[in-house]
Subunit: 260 residues, 3 copies
């Protein structure tokens, strides 16, 4: 039997919305330590990895490991029925063919429960090798979203160049070309969520498909800050941390120069 | 000669918006006691009945009974030209072929008048029998709207079950199933417009097409509270009362079990 | 070399949005006194004229006259990448094949630069004769926008009649007909931006295509007040003034009675 209760029900909404456009269906792996999910997008170009730690829930019980195959679009629809201040409880019996979503408002005079049919989904759990990334950027999540959205106007491929002066995002296309540069900003006058930190062992310049970055930034409502990690010839990591609960991480392989 | 003046012009906008998607054209029956309208939707499944009492208007004069056939879509378009704080005056001569809408702003430096052509519409005035309903639910209009909209995600037919524990709205479909339950809530801590009252002589369980309920909830802006009345084998009544002015009522026959 | 710096970068956004739906591409004529642009819409019915004075910029330098041919749709897209409180700098070398847009945020830790390719555009500079207009109306820009948008519901052609009682905008069509009348309002109780002033040497009644007026009102965000000038058989002038910077003016020939 699996049961997990989250007072901040809206968090589950945002998590689902952060994945559903990239991945249509995925297995939620539930164990006593929490819930994890790993899935590639349909074109097998990028990967999303979700971790929700058991102790981040208000109540969490999972007697034996369960793999719950869920259509994320359907889950997002069901979660639309959850008010933002509702308490959400997820439930599934061992050998269940459905997952139950229970929504309660604070005064408990309104209760909803939804059963979502489970699916058999082929899972291909990829080992993600530990990498010693050469550059790490922490920046406001909203700003990263804006950059990816704005640059898409000019072209399909962004070049991210981390150097000592900052991080430069560049695009060029038929209409013209554009560069957006952000610089380290950790002065005490800057609010924590507006700070930009750049840690760099060596300069890194890589090309990425903006289309996927724009899927990743659907996770922006989850966190004030996004963390990018880059190394040559290794997938970019885009991480949205949820304090006390876990994270959503996206991986995207760089484009080879010739393709760019 | 017919002339009716309403300081809260925005009310007339909301009334028209509450009907125009269900009924394309209808007769406004004007008499010395007020304005009434009764019309079935184009598929003859549901009925809307409007009553605006003469004394709810700031000025009301109707020398002889008039039947004004109006295209509600056109009327809604004309009323879009009415600012929310404008004063509205409706006018029609006896034997008129047009209804005049006059909009004045509070300072009277802006005046608009629109003439809308009248139509000949076959009217079939249905006698609605007085029924002694077995269950009556009064609840926040916004919450009823939300339930009807949310459940539509899962299926076409809602089962409304009134019992001693509360009212349960249930739907099931291909994706899964869902239940939303609301309970009586009349504690002094609850604001009047958030109260839920359930009066029940005997339990009632009936099925309805969500499609029509979602047409009815277009009336939500008219009233903080909606009142549902149910009895076995008798149409559901969904009423939005406008204090001091009148009401909009919708009638919908239950679905026979086999169809559900 | 041309370089112009504007602290209120959002102004340039609004100027571009005010023209891009009417005119797809146009020449920006840059000289030491400022920037001007004149272009007809693609159907050669209306004309837009922009003037931005050199001293309205925070910094302005133009060594020799330049004609910069720009696709306004592309320019609007690039300016979407400009935050509302960014500082904008426009730059072009003599003989440049691109215009550079530089956006800096106030704290200068984020800098973007975009290069937009220049185009060769046939320009037909029309001399606009000085006219002694018989009627001039100054009114809230938002109200003029609303009137043009609302009346479009009923028909394609608006009749603007300036008389001693005020200005009457009339439309008639299949659904019915409508009139909106505004009156002079310069009482001390009225906020300046809500005032209506009507100066009239003789009554004027002219017909115009609402379609074009609705293109002109895209300039509404530029100014609180719009000024209309009319004379018989002469194009209407619709002017949005930008204090200390310049103006956007639109010209539209009246419809001949027979066409209306």
């Amino acid at each position: 039997m699996f049961e997990a209760r989250l007072t901040a029900g809206s968090m589950l909404k945002k998590i689902t919305d952060a994945m559903k456009d990239l991945v249509t269906e995925a297995n939620f792996d539930c164990s006593s330590t929490g819930i994890s999910l790993q899935a590639m997008d349909s074109s097998h170009v990028s990967l999303v990895a979700l971790l929700l730690r058991a102790d981040g829930f208000d109540h969490f019980r999972c007697d034996r490991n369960l793999q719950l195959g869920i259509n994320l679009g359907s889950m997002a629809k069901v979660l639309k029925c959850c008010n933002n201040d509702d308490i959400v409880t997820l439930k599934a019996d061992d050998n269940a063919d459905a997952m139950t979503f229970m929504f309660e408002n604070q005064t408990q005079d309104r209760i909803s429960d939804f059963e979502l049919k489970l699916m058999d989904i082929d899972s291909e759990h990829l080992g993600i090798p530990d990498t010693d990334y050469k550059a790490m950027i922490s920046m406001p999540a909203g700003e990263f979203q804006r950059i990816c959205r704005d640059l898409q106007i000019l072209g399909d491929t962004v070049t991210i160049a981390v150097g000592k002066d900052g991080v430069k995002f560049s695009v060029s296309g038929e209409m013209g070309s554009g560069n957006m540069t952000i610089r380290q900003n950790t002065s005490v006058d800057t609010k924590e969520e507006e700070q930009v930190t750049i840690e760099m062992e060596e300069p890194v310049t890589l090309n990425f498909a903006l289309r996927y970055l724009n899927f990743f930034t659907k996770a922006t409502p989850l966190s004030g800050t996004v963390c990018l990690q880059l190394s040559k010839d290794v997938p970019l990591v885009v991480e949205y941390a949820m304090p006390d609960l876990g994270h959503v991480r996206y991986y995207l392989a760089p484009k080879i120069e010739d393709e760019a």
